[in-house]
Symmetry: C2
Subunit: 436 residues, 2 copies
């Protein structure tokens, strides 16, 4: 299929929250306790909440910046492309990249809302999390009906409240919720614990997909302080194999037959191997480990329950039938450093060359729209949804890389390879100063 | 290719050390301090060394046992198939499985000899490790020339001694040495540290392949105590992606152009994805991370330096050219629970169906013989090396599964799924009693 004819729905992008997230959806008595943005003398902007500073990380908002200037430094809104946090500019950037619809993970609360989880005052946490969800669904996604797939943040500390939030948001049309790939690393019971059953039940009942993003356990994993940072960047997606295995062998998929999980930013190229491995382990070991998939193979049960996505993954696409064509979706990862913006249609067209149009359409948008229940074509006729049609609407969007916006290099000059230690030192710098 | 016509060289099997390892290669004054086998009242055999008990783990010696009776319990020699530890019976079992040659990793010293590393008395450690290596090369491999690829254990605590051991063993015809996938988890510098340069130099000079087995860091990784044990079994091979990434982005491959590493038991199906991911990361990030592959792609440099292997991996074989055909070898994993013994030729023939004979030969034996420098056909004419020819020599080898040899189930009866906690409890049981 030609790049122009692709219809693109991205199931993993990120919103950098604008300063007014908590303006519309909090009762007046809570306003003074809401997270707020502060500008610091070092030039960065941070969120302040209950005595804690939370930084916007460079690499998480580098779209439109020359790669030479990528880094992990704390950034300010002024250093970001406006589409990171302004929904109107986001839509223009989506149009310029030919992207019809987008699901946006949060930034400052953490990928599964760990900021709210770690508050001692759980009533404060609940109020702010629900205000965040209302902002996300009503303001961010609500501004352009049909252009966003809403994604809820979970109140992880209380399974009953979590189930209630799933049901509350489903009534508002939200059928996706973020969850941790390793709740045990956040001090919570693992997914094997019946503790979570009210949550699984609510998601099954409401058709809400549980989205598990890479890095949503206790964060990025590093091998050593002197390892090149490229090690962490390379392995982070494939590390979702840990959650994948935990999920596949758990009681959850067996006892909640309608439940559905999405591996967000996990890539797809390793999954055919993983499924073959799981089936091999089942054949070799089930008689002593007592696993019972009711006559099915683990790989079959997987395909009934798990949605995958990829940015640019030719190997995975070549092996799409071993994965399960009906389980594959696509992501753009705007505005993170791995994004293919603003050339996603061209990058994707190269990867799907030779694949039949019907299969390409399943992968690029049909699976995502069906699984996440977005009726995009009700809002916009299908022929206006192609990459070329959307790009035709992107009048005056400046796509030229913007230099000198930020990007303090972790290592000065041409320098030696950047290490774990270098980027952790950059990140730590935010805590060295207090807001004005 | 038909199963009968395969020529099989396995680059990852395991020897369960017989009690007489230290009988022939120690000076008399060291004999009393050598590791020795003791029989315990609970029926298990353990090695005793310098006040420490080391157990033979059930799953690591279950070949020939019905899978229903697999487990992680401590075992005795009497509970194992004799081919685990008796080289004459091992050869008969190799013949019965049509396997021409085998590289055997150690059992009680740990996959990379961590037992010796953790001794405070480094002179004791050196003497015992060298005696072990001499036994392995001269007795185990020496008993049947052309049938084993010798593999050295490394004195990890001293890079100079390590380099000397590489050179000493190369003179004895040994061109493979085990190493840790995460030396930093063993309290040593990471592979990024110039600390290891004398070792890399010696291996480059001698053409010695550095073999990095799964689980050779700080051991198996578990997600939680209540996770089914199948989670750990499934993910352990693919976790070698961590070492793979550490190695690929390190200075080692760039600065030691002739060095070669083997990913032992890592599987191959995930590697085409990994290489594509590495190239993507390089394209997107090298201008700020300062990685420099001298005009090559990371995947190209990988193929020059890294050898992979698989047990049964149809996905990997389908994508063999994305991996690099010249880098792929095969393994049997005898006597561990994942082995395909005694049906390896049939299992492999299914996976290579449709692949040209020349490619099959590269994968099944030519790559391994070339890379590990074993001139097997000097000892035995090629036509006598096929699976069918070797099996014809295996007169009277009883292949029937042997029940009731050991295999205390981790969970009684039909039971619930076996968890991490269950198998760790089994393992811990060995420390509850002292030897007779």
């Amino acid at each position: 299929m030609r790049a122009d004819d692709l219809i693109l729905v991205s199931v993993d992008d990120h919103v950098v929250e604008p300063p007014d997230v908590f303006a519309q959806h909090l009762a007046p008595e809570w306003q003074s306790r809401a997270p707020r943005v502060a500008h610091k003398a070092d030039g960065s902007d941070v969120w302040l909440f209950n005595g804690e500073q939370i930084v916007n990380v460079g690499l998480n908002a580098v779209v439109g910046r020359p790669p030479e200037e990528y880094g992990m430094e704390p950034t300010s809104f002024a250093q970001m492309r406006r589409g990171c946090w302004d929904v109107h500019e986001r839509i223009r950037d989506m149009n310029a990249n030919g992207v019809l619809a987008s699901m946006c993970f949060p930034s400052f609360p953490g990928l599964c809302g760990a900021l709210f989880l770690r508050q001692a005052d759980k009533e404060l946490a609940r109020v702010m999390l629900q205000a965040y969800n209302d902002w996300h669904v009503d303001e961010w996604c609500g501004a352009y009906p049909g252009r966003f797939i809403p994604l809820a943040l979970p109140p992880l500390w209380d399974p009953k409240l979590l189930a209630d939030e799933v049901r509350r948001l489903a009534r508002k049309g939200c059928h996706a919720i973020s969850f941790s790939e390793a709740p045990q690393e956040l001090g919570l019971p693992s997914l094997h614990d019946p503790h979570w059953d009210p949550f699984w039940t609510a998601c099954s009942d409401e058709g809400t997909v549980i989205c598990v993003h890479i890095g949503s356990g206790s964060g990025m994993k590093f091998t050593s302080m002197e390892a090149p940072v490229d090690v962490m960047i390379t392995v982070t997606p494939i590390y979702s194999v840990t959650f994948a295995a935990d999920l596949l062998w758990s009681r959850v998929l067996k006892q909640f037959p309608r439940i559905r999980f999405a591996l967000s930013e996990g890539g797809i190229g390793w999954i055919p191997y993983f499924l073959e491995r799981a089936d091999y382990v089942h054949r070799h070991h089930h008689t002593w480990t007592h696993q019972d998939f009711a006559g099915k193979l683990p790989s079959e049960v997987w395909r009934e329950h798990v949605v995958t996505c990829f940015i640019d993954d030719a190997v995975g696409l070549r092996n799409r039938h071993a994965l399960g064509l009906e389980t594959i979706t696509w992501e753009c990862d705007y505005p993170h450093s791995d994004t293919t913006w603003p050339n996603s249609p061209e990058a994707l067209a190269r990867s799907v060359a030779g694949i039949a149009d019907g299969e390409v359409n399943a992968i690029t948008h049909e699976n995502a729209l069906r699984i996440f229940r977005l009726d995009a074509f009700r809002h916009r006729p299908r022929e206006k949804c192609t990459a070329a049609a959307l790009r035709a609407e992107a009048v005056g969007v400046d796509l030229a890389p913007k230099s000198q916006l930020g990007g303090k290099p972790p290592v000065a000059g041409e320098g030696r390879p950047v290490t774990t230690q270098d980027i952790l030192s950059q990140l730590a710098s935010v805590y060295a100063t207090v807001p004005e």
